[in-house]
Amino acid sequence: MSMERYILSRVIQIIIIFFIVMSIIFLLFRVIPSDPTSFLLTPSMTAEAKEAIREQFGLNEPIITQYYLYFKNFFHGNFGNSFYGGRSVMNIIKERMLNSIFLVTTAVILSYIIGITVGKAIAWKRGSKTEKFFVGLGLWFYTMFTPWLGILFLWIFAFKLHLFPLGGMITSEVWIANPSLIEKICDLIHHLILPLITYVVLWFGGYMLLMRNSMLETLREDYIITARAKGLKEKDIRDKHAARNALLPIVTAFAISISFSITGAVLIETVFSWPGIGRTIVEATLRQDYPLVQGAFAIITIVVLIANFIADIAYAYLDPRISY
């Protein structure tokens, strides 16, 4: 199979998966045993008013009609309106998604750089105490309970030491005073640092281990042995030969980890009051705002699908050994 045909088949598969996943999402939200309008009721409503609310959300339509409308609206970029306040779901998601991407991409890039650097170094020192220590440390943070560490950091750095704000994305007081662009950016970064640190501390271990393992496998390859035999400098072998090749699988992991991270940010966003997509999904689920949950969920799924696709293609492109 040629590369083109491989890509084509992946595209077709992804489209099929997309439709199935979207149908699953649709079904998920129709079998709900609870009444989504329950939160909108106030004592002032009469019987007719309550019935009208149910109708308003199209809950009384036959399911086939709902299914058809669902896809039709989806391709028009219309996810309906939120049960709360009637804002367009698409607008809410756009706004929240940007916030999430801002936090997550920075965090992933940073943990990548740190993970790869440390991973490279400890693979070289295979079997030493340093290696064991770093692997243990990385794993310890990697398996740490995210909100717990977040709260600890918040308490130490924000509350006790007053180094960082107590969450949120911006300082309201700064923004209402008509700040300049630079002030705005500084303020954003100030808020970004603590969730970022938490993120990196928690996740660098995963990339570190990945890099270490990849590196160890590369070190067994013939060309490294040849390089050794040629008497090249250890540092050169490590950085120029081994690390470069070991990076291959890890670079392709990048796309996937970003998509994973967006969903994984749920806990960090909750702890640090970060108005991102993860927190949106939690809040919307808790108050049964189904159009919003459905929309957010669909968007996240699409992002994951695209990222997986890119990773597949990149991997196929970078690694000639793959059999299509």
Binding site: Q13, I16, I17, I20, V21, I24, L28, F29, V31, I32, P33, S34, R126, G127, K132, V135, G136, L139, W140, Y142, T143, M144, F145, T146, P147, W148, L149, I151, W155, F159, L209, N213, L216, E217, L219, R220, S259, F260, I262, T263, G264, V266, L267, T270, G278, I281, V282, T285, L286, Q288, V293, A296, F297, I300, T301, V304, L305, N308
Partner: protein
């Protein structure tokens, strides 16, 4: 026979002794195991006071710090935190192990079947795995928990197993694919051995090392995800898992006031998850020769 058994145990012992990671991991697990076993003993002395859900110490007012009667103090109603912690270790073990056994079993079987039969079976099963992998895990769990309306650990267990198996089956499948081309499978086929027998007798034993790795690593995932769900408010309220303990500490406003309440469950979640992952990494080093010392 007896001698053989001894040899086996010795072998395991040597293995564990050889790997710092496994040593550390197993010792942490043993500590928690003791806690889980000790739980009923601690509670049954006086369930009126020590029951983790309904036991209330009438002499306590509000959350009180550690004392002789309550080694970890009490929560805001006067429930013993130590017995909650003990009960939590039981739940973590049961939930973690069950999720990991269930999802690893499903994953291994699906992987073997898909890899061995290939063609349409492979396509269907692997696309199914793809679909589940595509659905983002934590949001999916949140949505499903929300949909069920009531949360119980059984539902959490099922959903967790449901979302964990595709990862495993993918790896097992590729492993099976390469094994299928090996001469010993070919010869078994030629000599007329049935498909089921080939899978069970020839393929399954060969993929078991990977299965073990995932068996331990999935426990970590299950423990962390359950705790995360509980923290977000989607946990089983009728049970006192560590995640629920933290949730209670949060909802009643004791996070920064009662370190004796906030620190132990978080530490336990992290430590138990850590220990299982350590064993996973240890196993990986043993079974993957490329990671061994030069």
């Amino acid at each position: 026979m007896k001698k053989k058994k001894w040899k086996l145990i010795r072998q395991i012992w040597d293995l564990i002794r050889g790997s710092t990671f496994i040593k550390l991991g197993v010792s942490i697990i043993i500590i928690f195991g003791i806690m889980a076993v000790f739980s009923p003993i601690w509670v049954n002395r006086n369930p009126e006071i020590y029951d983790p859900i309904i036991g209330v110490d009438p002499d306590v007012h509000g959350s009180e710090g550690p004392s002789l009667k309550h080694p970890l103090g009490t929560d805001y109603i006067g429930k013993d935190l130590f017995s909650q912690l003990l009960r939590g270790s039981q739940i973590a073990f049961i939930l973690g192990i069950m999720v990991s056994v269930l999802s690893t079993t499903i994953g291994t079987i699906v992987g073997l079947v898909a890899g061995y039969y290939g063609r349409i079976v492979d396509i269907i099963l692997m696309r199914l795995a793809d679909i589940i992998l595509t659905l983002p895990r934590l949001p999916l769990l949140i949505v499903i928990s929300g949909i069920f309306g009531t949360q119980s650990n059984w539902i959490i267990l099922l959903i967790l197993s449901f979302t964990f198996w595709p990862t495993i089956s993918r790896v097992i499948r590729s492993q099976t694919l390469s094994l299928r081309e090996r001469p010993f499978i070919e010869s078994a086929k030629v000599s007329g051995v049935g498909n089921r027998r080939i899978i069970l007798r020839h393929l399954a034993p060969n993929v078991l090392p990977i299965t073990f790795y995932y068996l331990t690593v999935t426990v970590t995932g299950a423990i962390l995800v359950e705790a995360g769900l509980s923290f977000l408010g989607f946990g089983d309220p009728s049970n006192m898992s560590w995640g629920m303990m933290l949730k209670w500490c949060f909802t009643t406003g004791y996070v920064f006031k009662a370190p004796y309440w906030m620190i132990p469950p978080g530490l336990c979640i992290s430590a138990l998850a850590f220990s299982f992952y350590l064993i996973g990494v240890g196993l990986e080093e043993i079974v993957n020769p490329r990671l061994k010392k030069r």
